[in-house]
């Protein structure tokens, strides 16, 4: 595979443009699954708010009537709400599956010089599917074990040590913040190992899941600061952009038909933020990984004397 050579961060930004197809695919998958999950609400919303004044109150945020109308909707249409919740759980499972599978395509094609085709992406998905399932299982076990132990242990510790601390005292608060930050750091480390383990299939089609985790650990060895820096850079950038988009959508009143249409476009744009950030993060990680691979595989040795074909004369049978 020929890959482009850039810095990790710029590779991330470059990946957004180069992997636009993947961004669109991830966004479209989210949108389609979301609509399917919300589908049970459609008839209920139509019944409650279509052709009733309740819809009028709700869209205009009537100060006195809208809250009651919304409450009545949630109460009277609880079956539909329950249906949407159940559908959402299935959609969550599907989107998890999608992430596992698409990661195979991403490591196969992202950052590749000269772009890629849909066929190449699909080939990557297919080739790495089983490997990625195994990597996910390892990630889940490690994550549950390490982070779970950390959170449970510190909770038990805090319960014993801080039980008689008055509310608002700084000790427990500082401890809680520390617990959260360390849990986040542990998650970041495991997440990076997981992504690098999947990236191991970028150059080696035959590497197994366990070996790929080992290879990921070696690849990150000595580069943890940079890798974690990349992780938190994309996390913070994504968080800020997402929060801004979320606030904008939350605050927009959207009463007229045009405004409602624009709000729907805004919602889709907000749903595209995470795919963008995810692809960018992958771009950065793969650039880092590619460099470590280049360092790991020694450059071809220049021949010092003309190559000779082996013959029986050179290696007599006896």
């Amino acid at each position: 595979m020929t890959v482009e050579r850039r810095g990790s961060l710029s590779s991330g930004f470059a990946a957004i443009g180069g992997g636009l197809g993947i961004v669109l695919l991830l966004t479209a998958t989210t949108v389609v699954l979301s609509i399917l999950a919300a589908a049970p609400l459609g008839p209920a919303l139509g019944d409650a708010f279509g052709r009733t004044l309740a819809g009028d109150h709700v869209i205009r945020n009537h100060p006195l009537f809208a809250p009651t109308d919304v409450y009545d909707f949630l109460h009277e249409k609880s079956d539909a709400v329950g249906g949407a919740a159940a559908a959402t759980r299935w959609a969550a499972l599907l989107i998890l599956l999608q992430q596992i599978l698409f990661a195979g395509g991403i490591v196969a094609v992202l950052g590749k010089a000269g772009g890629f085709t849909a066929g190449e992406f699909a080939w990557g998905v297919r080739r790495n599917a089983w490997h990625n399932f195994k990597c996910f299982a390892i990630f889940l076990l490690l994550g549950g074990g390490v982070i779970g132990t950390w959170v449970w242990g510190t909770h038990a510790f805090a319960k014993r040590v801080f039980e008689s601390s008055p509310p608002g005292s700084r000790g427990p608060l500082a401890f809680r913040i520390t617990v959260i930050l360390v849990a986040l750091l542990l998650y970041a480390i495991l997440s990076l190992l997981h992504d690098f383990a999947r990236a191991a299939r970028r150059f080696d089609n035959s590497v197994g899941a366990l070996r790929s985790w080992g290879r990921a650990r070696r690849a990150l060895s000595g580069r943890w600061t940079r890798a974690l820096g990349l992780f938190f850079f994309w996390l913070v950038l994504g968080g800020v952009v997402l929060a801004a988009g979320f606030s904008l959508e939350w605050m927009s009143p959207a009463v007229s038909a045009v405004a409602v249409f624009l709000q729907i476009l805004l919602q889709i744009a907000i749903l595209a933020i995470r795919p963008v950030i995810r692809v960018a993060a992958w771009g950065s990680y793969l650039a880092l990984y590619d460099r470590t691979e280049a360092e790991r595989i020694p450059p071809p040795v220049e021949p010092t004397e003309p190559l000779r074909a082996d013959t029986l004369e050179d290696h007599p049978l006896l």
Partner: protein, 720 residues
């Protein structure tokens, strides 16, 4: 209004007490002092125990000789998991869990009971369970009890060697030791914070024949139930308690002395015309004392509004100054100004609309974050607020929990404190009426949507009432004994929000003025007495001059709903004239809306009209009228009243324009309406009066739902 009241001398006494500037604790009690307590107590801050010596003078209010006394031992509700309270609550209430550690339990031991002459009554005393014990009995029930083993130990019966004669009195001397539980259900300790409530042996109420509908005199002294609060007689409390010197304290009544001796300080409080006494102690309290100073502290316009609704002059509504002692937990220091403002609003509203707050003091306690069970509780002249730290910060800051709880608890000084209804048997008379008052104060002080989240999302108080009304199966009426509701939620719904909603309905039907006058009359007639549901309706009927039995039997004593709906609505082109008609110029033959005459055949004689037919139906059980509104596409509005007795009504209207929409109760004048979603039908969207955005609403909220689901789905990505 006043002339309608049956007991003018009594009313005059109450009003005089309210207007008089002399404090109620100054030996001028307004209520007949049935129970007079003198208590000396000492708090051990480490073991959370209170050792007390109680002198009780009980006056027999009846014409019966009384040969047995009954006492509440409320703290025994927290003694073990066999008490009725523990069984009914499942050991959990308001986020607190009982008995998670050995030291968490609470109890009260009666060490001795003696008459003034020194006669020991303890040997004859027995624990009783007046309401029965509705749970499977245990094999391990209190075998070592000195009195007698029962599962629930919250009521003590004390036979007397000789009966207390009619209108006579008895003096008792009682020694007791109370161990406070870890904060649970309105009392207890957490760390050094102590809310000392229901802490002493408290005599029940002896109801004479005729009182509260009783055929014969007898004790009203129920076991302590998870869903019930309290009921007691008025009297005087003279309480002296000693605490470690570094503790900051507050209590019912007025502090009359403070004596420091070594590392302990003794405080003495006096309170008249109250039916309970509670106190608090905590070394970390921040103290803020301020004075409610009328008229400067009355919000602008409130006195004018009250005078207008009550048909009284503002001069007649004069309020009295109140000294307020606010005890804040340190982590809630930032809530101080919110407490101060809402306290002033509460004193103003209740004083203006019902009668001036007659006590000279009010103590407001703000419990710590780790003692939420101590929050939101009322005792006479002593209330606890609720300001969990999370409610002081974004995004819950404007949810106004601090203000709402404070206003509600202050309101109990009126509905519970002064109007002493029986909270065991008719909780709606205090919690429900107070919820209605609380709604009113919140709306007056903070606008129609007092509780707000960021982004303008919020709800009004009637939505809270509506939610409580419709969210549960409609199995219980409002009025029921507190422990007989099918669930704790049903008790809560029927005691608080449903009553708020019912009274909003009553106010809309009677008019704000008549309603306010009736409520004031009810307060003034029944202050320092024990009214019932019948008494409430009697006063309201007298003041309004209306028969309100439909409200009582359908809503308060029944489970009837009101559910008018638009069953169908359609609008069609009206059929055009056809046939032979007798016109002013003689007989005319019409065909397809035109007169059949050769020379005028091209000119239409009749303009197109539309027949609109709307059917309204009441799917609920309660017969009550409602307003129907028809709006046409030219903006014409037609209002009709759907009669109470009709189960359905069909309206037919021929008009030049099409019907745009039809609705029942469009202005939400019937808060008791069950469902709001079936109240309207829109036939045409468009501009003008008939403009509705219903279809856009469907698109908008479907996309919003999908969008939120999408955000949730993407959060799952963190896993993979």
């Amino acid at each position: 209004m006043k002339s309608l009241l049956p007991s003018l001398p009594r009313l005059a006494l109450v009003v005089a007490a309210a207007l008089d500037s002399a404090p109620l604790s100054a030996a001028t009690p307004v209520s007949p002092p049935v129970a007079e307590y003198t208590i000396e107590a000492s708090l051990d801050g480490k073991t959370h125990t209170v050792d007390g010596q109680e002198r009780l003078v009980w006056r027999n209010p009846s014409g019966d000789p009384v040969s047995e006394l009954r006492f509440h031992l409320y703290l025994n509700a927290f003694k073990n998991n066999h008490s009725i309270f523990a069984r009914e609550s499942g050991g959990q209430l308001r986020g607190d869990k009982a008995g998670t550690k050995p030291d968490d339990w609470g109890w009260i031991d009666v060490l001795s009971i003696k008459t003034a002459s020194g006669e020991d009554l303890k040997p004859g005393a027995r624990l009783i369970v007046p309401d029965g014990y509705p749970f499977p009995r245990s094999e391990t029930r209190n075998p070592k009890s000195e009195i007698n083993p029962v599962e629930d130990e919250t009521v003590l019966s004390v036979p007397l060697p000789s009966p207390v004669p009619p209108h006579g009195e008895i003096e008792l001397s009682i020694a007791f030791r109370s161990k406070l539980p870890k904060v649970f259900a309105r009392t207890g300790y957490v760390r050094d914070f102590h809310l000392v409530g229901q802490w002493f042996p408290k005599i029940g109420v002896y109801e004479r024949a005729g009182m509260r509908g009783r055929a014969q005199g007898g004790w009203n002294c129920h076991s302590f139930h998870a869903n019930s609060e309290f009921y007691a007689d008025y009297g005087r409390y003279d309480v002296t308690f000693t605490v470690p010197a570094n503790y900051v304290v507050g209590a019912t009544g007025k502090r009359v002395s403070e004596t420091k001796k070594g590392d302990r300080t003794t405080y003495r409080y006096l309170a008249d015309d109250v039916h309970d006494f509670a106190w608090t102690a905590d070394p970390t309290f921040l103290v803020h004392e301020f004075r409610f100073n009328p008229p400067a502290d009355i919000p602008r316009g409130w006195a004018t509004l009250a005078a207008s609704e009550l048909s009284m002059s503002e001069g007649e509504l004069a309020l009295k100054p109140v000294e307020v002692r606010l005890l804040l937990s340190p982590e809630h220091a930032s809530a101080r100004d919110r407490y101060v403002q809402s306290t002033k609003e509460a004193i103003s509203f209740y004083g203006l609309w019902f009668g001036a707050y007659p006590y000279p003091t009010l103590t407001v306690v703000d419990p710590p974050d780790d003692g939420p069970g101590a929050g939101g509780m009322e005792y006479p002249t002593f209330i606890t607020g609720f300001s969990g730290s999370e409610f002081l910060r974004w995004p819950f800051r404007r949810f106004r929990v601090v203000e709402d709880v404070l206003i509600h608890e202050f309101g109990h000084q009126y509905w519970y404190g002064m109007v002493g209804s029986n909270e065991f048997e008719e909780s709606w008379l205090d919690e429900g009426i107070n919820t209605d008052s609380e709604f009113r104060v919140m709306q007056l002080a903070y606008g129609p949507r007092p509780a707000l989240f960021p982004g303008g999302i919020g709800f009004d108080m009637e939505t809270y009432g509506h939610a409580g009304y419709v969210s549960l199966p409609n199995l219980d009426p409002i009025r029921k004994r507190a422990w007989e509701y099918f669930s704790g939620n049903s008790y809560g719904s029927n005691s608080y929000p449903k009553v708020g909603l019912f009274l909003a309905q009553l106010r809309n039907d009677l008019g704000a003025g008549v309603y306010a006058q009736a409520q004031r009359a009810y307060f003034q007639e029944w202050s320092f007495r024990h009214p019932t549901t019948s008494d409430f309706f009697d006063v309201f009927q007298q003041v309004s001059g209306r028969d309100l039995s439909t409200y009582r039997w359908n809503i308060v004593e029944g489970t009837s709903r009101l559910d008018w709906s638009v069953v169908s609505a359609k609008t069609d082109k009206a059929e055009r004239n056809a046939g032979v008609f007798e016109g002013p110029g003689g007989r005319e033959t019409w065909q397809k809306g035109r007169v059949v005459r050769p020379k005028e055949a091209k000119e239409p004689d009749e303009k197109q009209a539309y027949d609109s037919v709307v059917v309204f139906g009441n799917r609920g059980e309660w017969a009550h009228s409602a307003k129907a509104r028809l709006v046409f596409t030219d903006g014409t509005v037609v209002d009709r009243v759907l009669p109470a007795e009709a189960r359905w009504v069909r309206l037919r209207i021929r008009y030049k324009s099409k019907l745009a929409w039809a609705a029942v109760d469009p202005d939400r004048e019937n808060p008791w309406e069950w469902s709001r979603l079936n109240d309207s039908h829109v036939l045409k969207s468009g501009d003008g009066a008939a403009d509705t955005a219903s279809r856009r609403a469907v698109a908008k909220y479907f996309s919003k739902a999908a969008y939120w689901i999408g955000l949730f789905l993407q959060s799952v990505w963190a896993l993979a």
